[in-house]
């Protein structure tokens, strides 16, 4: 059993992740914006963090990822970004390309298939601190 923190301003997304990951025996915590997510991370010390991009503003999630990487106690938390493909610019995130600029470990695009979410979380749980993309 692992501790997962899910940060998204859409209540149904956190609910979805909670149901899916609790069914796999994990303990799931939720927060609704970057600040609340950062505070929760300090308190909970999650084993994996799921982070939405657009919350309070368009890059709230990315800013929060940078904050996490600067905070010694939670620096090595594996981060999975929850993204929406931007219809206008049609940008699909990938760890190979965007991971160079963003200190996160993987991306998953909404709507998130249950199987993909579980698979990606399992992969991140297996990472050792030296494998974390701290930027």
């Amino acid at each position: 059993m692992a501790k997962i923190l899910c940060v998204d301003d859409d209540h149904d997304v956190t609910e979805f992740c909670k149901i899916a990951l609790e069914a796999k025996g994990h303990e799931v915590f939720t927060a609704a914006d970057g600040d609340a997510g950062f505070e929760a991370a300090l308190k909970v010390r999650p084993d994996v963090m799921l982070l939405d991009v657009m919350m309070k503003d368009v890059s709230d999630g990315f800013q929060t990822a940078y904050r996490i990487r600067k905070e010694e106690s939670i620096k090595y938390t594996p981060i999975l970004m929850l993204t929406s493909v931007n219809q206008v610019f049609n940008h699909k995130f990938s760890p190979d390309r965007d991971g160079k600029f963003l200190p996160v470990d993987d991306f998953v695009e909404k709507p998130i298939p249950v199987a993909t979410l579980i698979e990606k979380v399992d992969k991140l749980l297996a990472l050792t601190p030296d494998q974390i993309n701290v930027g």
Partner: protein
């Protein structure tokens, strides 16, 4: 604040005297365009032949061209027809000694903006150039507004796409959980997911309905069906529509009203009441109250004020609340469904009725949303009051 605009003017004339004359007059000419708060300064460049002018045109774009009809090589009319008529960014003023009505009509058809007959007085030249400069600046202003309009539309559609996609994602997620039987074989355990899915679909339906209200308002197409609307009755209808939701959360209603009527489209009044009253319930606390006050104002308008005992707003929230897609998201409100269009619709409606909207609020104690409306003027066979667009 008055700003200075520099406009590049090309003068094309084979007579040195005319070129020098025009330059001398325009050099000291700095017309103030009061309507636009602009002062115009001219940068002048003269050309003896059409060929030299066309060569310069390859690298520079004048705002105005003073073009002589009769030139030694390629003529002014030919330049106008072949080159300038295709350049919408350049305003051409034809200067000619052969001032006939026929030439004037012909050059105007070919795209010239105005016409100056030789010989002209300095004042005639200044008048024509001033008119041309005004035209240039108005056109630039129009282009600027058009670009701005496109950007606003782009932003609106981007946000709209996001707002429509979120509920679909949510429902798809719940269905996926069910398909994978994440909570085991018992159907009952999936009912909360079904309820949540239905709620998101309801929210989407509301967004689409609001979008249609908004489109109808902005098109200005629909003719208003004006009749005398009893406000007390309209308020009661709106309160009844949210009675069930209010009862569940023990929220009470008070309606304070004289017997007031207004000449308006009943559909518009319904939209206003529905938005204000449903917000007052949605953003209220359990056990709170909603008070609707209807009063007449000194200026002959009517005032609808809806007071709740909910979360209240910060000053910053108040500023932006009536804009499109602005929803105040906090931990307390993020579960509350809403399209983010309701208040912007009320604002647009109020403007159509020559009125305004506003909100007073104390953070943590509650808010009063108000709107003032002037009666619609009934005009037969024409657009009703306020709908002139």
């Amino acid at each position: 604040m008055t700003t200075t605009e520099r406009l590049l003017v090309f003068i094309v004339d084979d007579e040195p005297g005319i070129r020098m004359g025009i330059e001398a007059i325009l050099r000291g000419f700095k017309p103030a365009l009061a309507d636009m708060d602009r002062v115009v300064n001219f940068d002048l460049r003269s050309f003896e032949t059409g060929e030299a002018f066309l060569e310069a045109l390859k690298t520079e774009t004048p705002a105005l061209v003073l073009l002589d009809c009769k030139l030694p090589g390629i003529g002014g009319l030919e330049i106008l027809e072949k080159v300038l008529s295709k350049r919408e960014d350049i305003v051409t003023l034809i200067v000619t000694a052969y001032a006939t009505l026929e030439t004037a009509v012909k050059t105007t058809k070919m795209g010239a903006y105005d016409f100056l007959a030789k010989p002209f007085t300095p004042d005639e030249l200044r008048y024509t150039v001033r008119k041309g400069a005004t035209h240039v600046l108005l056109r630039r202003e129009r282009d600027r507004l058009e670009t701005e309009r496109k950007q606003i539309r782009f932003q609106f559609l981007s946000v709209l796409a996001h707002e429509l996609k979120s509920p679909i994602n949510a429902v798809e997620g719940y269905l996926d959980l069910m398909a994978n039987k994440l909570l085991g074989p018992d159907v009952e355990s999936y009912l909360p997911m079904v309820e949540k899915s239905i709620a998101r679909i309801g929210g989407m339906r509301k967004l689409i309905a609001d979008l249609m209200d908004l489109t109808r308002l902005e098109s200005g197409q629909r003719k208003k069906e004006i009749s005398s609307v009893n406000l007390r009755e309209a308020a009661q209808t709106a309160l009844e529509s949210v009675a069930l939701a209010a009862e569940k959360r023990n929220i009470s209603f008070t309606l304070e009203s004289d017997d007031l009527s207004i000449a308006a489209d009943p559909g518009d009044i319904e939209i206003i009441f529905n938005n204000y009253v449903s917000n007052a319930v949605k953003y209220n606390r359990d056990g709170g109250s909603v008070t609707v006050r209807l009063t007449g104002t000194d200026g002959g308008k009517i005032r609808i004020a809806v007071t709740d005992t909910g979360l209240g707003l910060t000053d910053e929230d108040r500023e932006r609340l009536f804009a499109e897609f602005v929803r105040i998201k906090t931990d307390e409100t993020r579960h509350i469904p809403g399209s983010g269009l309701g208040l912007s619709i009320v604002k647009k409606l109020a403007q159509e009725y020559g009125g305004e909207v506003g909100v007073t609020s104390t953070h943590g104690e509650g808010s009063t949303f108000w709107v003032e409306l002037a009666p619609a003027v009934i005009e037969k066979d024409s657009q009703p009051h306020g709908a002139e667009r």
